[in-house]
Amino acid sequence: MNLKEISQAVIVGDADNCAGLTRKAIAQNIPVADILNKGLVPGLRRVGELFEKGEYYLPELIVSGDAVAKALEYLEPLMGGGGASYMGRYLIGTVQGDIHDLGKNIVIMMLRGNGWEVTDLGVDIPPEEFCAAVASGGYDIVGMSSLLTMTMPNVARTIGALKAAGLRDKVKVMVGGAPTTAEWAAQVGADAHAKDGPMAAIAAAKLVGKS
């Protein structure tokens, strides 16, 4: 089958078709890595491009995310073993005091669709909880989201806590959220900044040298 059909189902946000095509591809013994990298990922990449160009907005991102999530229901049980391997492990949460999670959830959707294994800590996460999760080991990147100007200092506080706990060198740090900028991210000691979900997937791949 032509894996571009899966890409197209993602682009138009047709979850049922995307799931059906994914099952068909699995049944035809197409490698999971191919379904992901030649089907879902190009589709999501195009969705990201359309979002950046201002042709897609939040509703279109959500329904494309639904399509990817449906496909992943069939693909994820087959990943991580001998078949396709994940891009890496990504830990994410909104910083303490911030419980706005729409942006974070879109980032998660984009990351999962791009082959990341994501652990979602949730919202309003204190620095010590980020530290404990990083200490548990195995994460390539920790992402922190701050939607409010007044919670931005808690990003710096969390990065400081990672340093104080001797964990900063064990993980890359990505930050994002509406009021944040690349300059500010550099100031607080993050490794990367992403202004939205599609950019987060690109930045994450760069951080682990898989772009």
């Binding site: 907005y57 329904v63 005091g97 959830n105 100007t149 509406a178 939205d196």
Partner: protein
């Protein structure tokens, strides 16, 4: 002129005696300025031109669900969580599927207790300062409290009639609420609820025209039919869709979000002759971390760029939230008095 006349004159796009100003001020800032003061006390203390309260405050804390986590059920049936801010954040929507709508019972807009604050405001300020009452935007209410963000956005693409039905419920409540407020003496309605993010509108222009603008127009038409003007609030970059708000008939637009690249001078030249500009001293930067002089100068700039000929209510870029430096806010208020006397002499 008194405060009410000042605000109403600006909303008619004319010059009052000076640029008007009012704000919603967080408890922490009020405490620093006048310990023990209520919002009404601070309005009087600072001689603000209007007093503003929002309908959500009396719908949020409907029922305590988890005191330790500060989770409450709101009047629509969803869950909200209080943080360090005065405004809680939605956690779980009231309606999870279309089926829920079939048995849904609206809250009663005629319950007397909803109007206690308004009655007090009318008793204290009527005829002297503008009494500004919040009516949450149908899109924001539907998205945040009623259906939830994800369900709402998904339904816009996959099931538009679901949104239409939800909007009918919400409009039914809001129009009755507005009717009651008008009978009690509201001067201005403040339609709060965001349509945009920092980078762009939340939904396409096509969806804005299909789902967001028509309910706003219904609120505006209802208010106008009873002689009450309407200010629409939305954060974010609304350059691509601002005309839909003007076409819906709103009299004022708040806050012309500077963080989203909305320059108030450009707004003045593009549409300052069609709608009163309400904004936009930055409550993300100058009022929070700037010096008093920076707050003063930014206020001057806002008045210089947008005050000419009237049609400006000088306000912050969102609200005087708990992170605002109280001294910087006081500097802003002083600057409005210093630079905002008409005729302006700032160029």
């Amino acid at each position: 002129m008194n405060g009410l006349e000042r605000v109403m004159t600006a909303l008619r796009l004319q010059e009052p005696d000076r640029v008007p100003h009012f704000e919603r001020i967080a408890r922490k800032v009020r405490e620093a300025i006048l310990p023990g003061a209520s919002e009404e006390d601070i309005v009087e203390h600072l001689d603000l031109d209007g007093v503003r309260f929002i309908d959500r405050t009396h719908s949020w804390g409907y029922e305590t669900v988890d005191e330790a986590k500060r989770i409450r059920r709101d009047q629509w049936g969803g869950l909200v969580r209080y943080t360090t801010e005065d405004n809680p954040v939605p956690m779980e929507p009231a309606i999870k599927s279309e089926k829920d709508l079939e048995t849904y019972v609206l809250p009663d807009p005629d319950e007397e207790w909803r109007y206690e604050t308004l009655r007090q405001l009318v008793k204290r300020f009527k005829g002297e300062r503008a009494i500004v009452v919040g009516v949450t935007d149908i899109f924001a209410l539907g998205r945040e409290n009623f259906l939830g963000d994800v369900n709402y956005f998904r339904a816009m693409v996959k099931n538009p009639p679901f949104i239409d039905r939800a909007n009918e419920f919400l409009l039914d409540y809001q129009l009755k609420y507005m009717r009651n407020c008008i009978e009690l003496g509201v001067d201005i309605f403040w339609v709060n609820g965001d349509w945009a993010m920092t980078e762009r509108p939340m939904v396409s222009r096509q969806f804005t025209e299909r789902f967001l603008a028509p309910p706003l127009k219904k609120l505006v038409d209802f208010a106008h039919g009873r002689g009450v003007p309407v200010i629409k609030h939305t954060d974010g970059n609304i350059w691509p869709i601002y005309d839909t708000i003007i076409d819906a008939g709103a009299d004022g637009l708040h806050p012309i979000d500077p963080m989203a690249g909305m320059d108030i001078g450009e707004a003045k030249s593009r549409f300052g002759d069609k709608i009163c500009l309400c904004g936009n001293v930055s409550c993300a930067f100058s009022l929070v971390s700037g010096t008093e002089e920076e707050a003063r100068q930014e206020t001057r700039e806002v008045i210089r760029k947008a005050g000419k000929g009237g049609g400006l209510i000088c306000m912050s870029s969102n609200s005087i939230h708990s992170g605002v430096n109280p001294q910087n806010y006081l500097a802003m208020v002083r600057a409005i008095r210093e630079f905002g006397q008409y005729p302006l002499a700032l160029d």
